[in-house]
Symmetry: C2
Subunit: 400 residues, 2 copies
Amino acid sequence: MTTKISKAKLEQAAALMPQHGLDCWIVSFARETGNRQEPLEYLIGSTITWPSAFLLHRDGRTVAIVGSGDVGHVRDRGIWSEVRGYVASPREELVKLLDEWRPEKIGVTWSEDDDTSDGITHGMYRMLESILEGTPHAERLVAAGRMAGDVRGRKLPDEVEAIHSAIAATEDLFKRIETILRPGITEKEVQEQVHRWVREAGLGFSWEDDMNPIVDFGPLRAPMGHSYPGDTALAPGHLIHVDVGLRRDGYASDLQRTWYWLRDGETEAPEAVRKAFEATRAALDAGMAALRPGQAGHQVDAASRATVIENGFPEPPFAFGHPVGQVAHDGGATLGPRWERYGKSPDVLIQPDNVFAVEMDLEVPGYGLVGLEEEALVSEAGAQYLSNPQRELWLLPRRS
Amino acid sequence: MTTKISKAKLEQAAALMPQHGLDCWIVSFARETGNRQEPLEYLIGSTITWPSAFLLHRDGRTVAIVGSGDVGHVRDRGIWSEVRGYVASPREELVKLLDEWRPEKIGVTWSEDDDTSDGITHGMYRMLESILEGTPHAERLVAAGRMAGDVRGRKLPDEVEAIHSAIAATEDLFKRIETILRPGITEKEVQEQVHRWVREAGLGFSWEDDMNPIVDFGPLRAPMGHSYPGDTALAPGHLIHVDVGLRRDGYASDLQRTWYWLRDGETEAPEAVRKAFEATRAALDAGMAALRPGQAGHQVDAASRATVIENGFPEPPFAFGHPVGQVAHDGGATLGPRWERYGKSPDVLIQPDNVFAVEMDLEVPGYGLVGLEEEALVSEAGAQYLSNPQRELWLLPRRS
């Protein structure tokens, strides 16, 4: 992550604070962030060991209060204009700073709804309450999860470019994957080859390596979802489904592609497979048409979900889309139904400069899984693909 | 992490629950643990995407309640005897299970004092409260941070062996580092070479790569602490300080070593350097003598701290020791002063089978930093080193 993006994101955040009613935002109050990543690390710029507070004033001032052993490297990064060290406790410096700033509302980064905006542990929240106990600041703490989601969600041009570059690398990867597909190769062997290629290219994965890529050959062994590749060998008559995400320059991609391996004598996929592909495509198209500023996430999901059911498939047990950014499941609106597992994130309104992964997976009994996933950028005019969408089912072996 | 260790740790945890007054322990209530590591992931065995509860009964029963998309891979790992999937919300399954189990005390993994036992975010804690609202279980939640620290801290023989193996690799690394030390090489060049070696060996680092190793040549540029290696070139008359930790089979090491590069005509280090080395050594010896079951962490720290002051050095601004395990700063007792930044962890009593890093760093103006750090295993009889302690200041160039 570059210092330039960190500083630009902090400026963007300060500008957004008034509309979230915040005078001061405790962007992070955490410890040992080398063990467990601070979700807003890209605004912080460095990991820290001891309990540390990173505070942003709505006028753009930034102050870091960190343990003495962390002062050197936080200063070296040059993102926080003032770095105050402590030996025994951050208490004194933190209360002093809030006394100076006299904020009426102090945002703390937590959210029931959005994991990437849920930056403070329960133990650290209790420590913060105990530090502020007996001061006027104790009553002024408010949740800044929506604020965090807003900053994460509104991508700067440099961020869109980084995501685009991760997508391009992923599209190249799908082409390479196709070259090794042949009857007999196993799901695991495909994953192992992808791991070698990605390591050689010096890239990272957007999620856990052991499920990246997800590779499904033929009929599903388990309910669809996040699964490890197995020993199933590719055979004619199989759908080939690959879900992969790469990370490049700190930003992520998340894409799915589907092939079908023709049986002897077949010149096209069986009708059930073709119907599922068309229904998947239609679900993406319907969702994309609904994806525009001012819509709530659940409205976009509903548009896509309705076409799936109209086409005679069971209701999908997952959301149509999710933000993509620093991670594959980034913060902001979920394009999903109002199920408790998504909290209130499906109620969040779509904003210009949001980037989403939109996806649909449909199972075809006897053949396997059709899955498509693309990235889309929202602008005032609506949504446009950042990836090159797969519009046709890819048939293998390719005819020369 | 092996399934064997995960299961053994869960059995160990169940056996410890009565003495922590718990009938049921919600070991983890988290989401998106691929983005942000669950500190008890080695008990859970897999990452999950949707809000998931992993519950342990004091009779050893284990139940995982996970989103439908996570069911397959959690079952595949075979650690949790029952895996219950949900589509819309974990609410129903969670309340049903607690109704079955009727626990009087339900532990939730959070701690103000110990980061590795502070597993639940504030947002997830609020979600848990909201799920249990109106049920008899709501009033039965208690902090299980001490429980988590106890399980982390009491190492099983397989865990000690894994730590020992990480230490052995680190000791080999110090030998290799010595072979490249020569006047003119910079701190950064040493770090880069170490990164190549560690990658080639297929090992990982115990903390952030950009501060691993920490390399200090000569007089300090900033207050001692966690710092990035810089462009300082090694020169005669410099102390050479290296702090490095490796990770092997899921377990960590954390060691420091110190050399001195002789100036022309010198046959030993200057008196100030020798005195600092002896004081550092004495601080470790004093702490090790105090490190035994039943002592509180702050008592061990005090024994070491007193010798530093007696020897005429300023009071160290850090703790004498910390647990080592899955990570370099693992959970349990801190061997440190009762400063607020350590919470109540210095009050925790030392237990048999705890593993600690014990360390001391003293600055020698004009020469640099003397730092020693070793790993020690506690048994009923006291503490013994797991590393081969550095007893003499290493002088370079070596005489043949």
